[in-house]
Amino acid sequence: MIISKLGRHIKSAFVGIFRNFWMSFSATTAVAVTLLLVSLFTVLSLNVSSFMTSIEQNITIRAMVDDNYDATQIYDEKTKKDPLGDKLRALSGVQTVEFVSKEEEFDRYVKLTGDNASMYERLKDKNPMSNIYKVTLEDGNSDYDAVSKAIEGIEGIKSANYGTGGIHRLVDIFNQMSSVMLFFMATLILLAIFLISNTIKLTIYNRKTEIQIMRLVGASNGYIRFPFILEGIIIGVLGAIIPAVLTVVVYGKILETNENGFFISSALQFASMSEINMVAGLLFAIGAIVGMIGSLISVSRYLKA
């Protein structure tokens, strides 16, 4: 009996959608449009955070060792002893610490100047460079300021800085962008709930008499509610199909096209396809939940008496 009841409910939900085709169609369209926007923002914000991670992976803090500092405390190539480096490694948030001698630094600098290299060769005895430690941070840690300060607090470190002002600003901008996008996404999801529940309210309003008659012939509230809720879920899921497919297909094309650095250099990493597939799944979940909530709210209004 339960199976035949469930069968009836499912049938009645589909019949309901079909017989109120235009209402269902407009509800589905509203869901599709909002979910498409939700998808757009989610994908954008995923990429921003992915870009940020790849930038951060390339950022290193350069900690300059005080020239007058006890030479036995810094990295020794023969004994592999590195008391100062170990202090850096012990700081929280630090992932790797790499020692670069002042000679290596000088060579790197000379190479950068290219043609005038010979001119600098004479300066080698009066090397103006310092020994440095290159420090990278753990994934997800973007608080370069705090770590730099902590490094400067260690005895034997003259100064610590990372990148140029440009990178500084880029990180800031990306940080701000992702919080703005989060805000947009939350707003859009609320809007989607509002739109869907409103449209379903309209489809239910059109069937007010149907609900009245159902109550009159002794249908329990649960019995009346069930097909409407199923309908809401079906509408939500149907509305998610187009945005989900579009998201996966279009994003796949973009990734494919960019494989050779077509849009943006390969130094920046795009959000991966598996993340995007999860977004598509999320769209279905949002559609179903929002559809369900929408019809639940709407149908309950007619079941109070």
Partner: protein
């Protein structure tokens, strides 16, 4: 069967008295007319019976069930024991005649094969077995009302409440409906019928309860309209 004890119904927080301290008894299998001017409380009277409204004070009993004690959630289960017929039929326009009637049984979870048998039986009783697949808009008013009656009686209710069932029908169809209701009454079902149709009350004579300004002004056994008393 139906028992009102000191029933008062007020609307809008006591500002409108629809029924005032009404007491009455209707026995099993009785056929009763409820008449009276518009706004006198007839509608309230039958709404209390099918628990669309709750009495403000007093008790309404149907089949030994205290109707005003039924919680909102349990109303649907109570309604399975009564049949209601309206002036505007209240059929589901997008369901066929068969589906409209079968719906009542589906709702209470009856087995499909049983539903089929019962629906065909009741369609035969109201004389519409050849219209099972028609939609309501394809039928005449009288036919639609017969579908509504079929729907009301398919659960074999103890009480059938009819709110001006012939109000929208021509005299010929009205007669058919009345004959059908009398037939149902003869099978032991209590019938409470609200009507404005003077001729009907005088032709098919039954106990007649007159409600005026929220009070029962007359209750005549098999009397019909008493023209001396009718000022409206």
């Amino acid at each position: 069967m139906i028992k009102f004890t000191n029933v008062t119904k007020m609307y809008r927080k006591g500002r409108v008295h629809a029924l005032n301290n009404v007491s009455l008894f209707i026995g099993k299998g009785e056929f009763v007319y409820v008449i009276g001017p518009t706004g006198a409380g007839k509608s309230t009277f039958i709404k209390l019976l099918y628990r669309e409204e709750k009495a403000t004070s007093g008790t309404v009993e149907v089949n030994n069930i205290k109707v005003n004690k039924i919680s909102n959630r349990k109303v649907p289960f109570y309604r399975r024991h009564i049949g209601v017929i309206f002036q505007d039929f209240k059929l589901l326009p997008k369901k066929t005649v068969y589906e409209n009637i079968a719906f009542t049984l589906e709702v209470i979870g009856k087995h499909p094969s049983l539903i089929r048998k019962q629906v065909l039986n009741v369609l035969q009783l109201v004389g519409l077995e050849d219209k099972a697949k028609a939609f309501p808009h394809e039928l005449s008013g009288g036919q639609q009302q017969r579908v509504a009656i079929a729907r009301a009686i398919i659960n074999d209710p103890a009480v059938v409440i009819a709110d001006e069932p012939t109000g929208n029908l021509d005299p010929e169809s009205s007669k058919e409906i009345m004959n059908l209701l009398e037939e149902i009454s003869r099978r032991g079902t209590t019938i409470v019928m609200v009507t404005h149709d003077r001729q009907m009350v005088n032709t098919y004579k039954h106990r007649t309860i007159t409600i005026e300004s929220g009070y029962i002004s007359h209750d005549t056994m098999g009397g019909g309209y008493n023209d001396n008393l009718q000022t409206w």
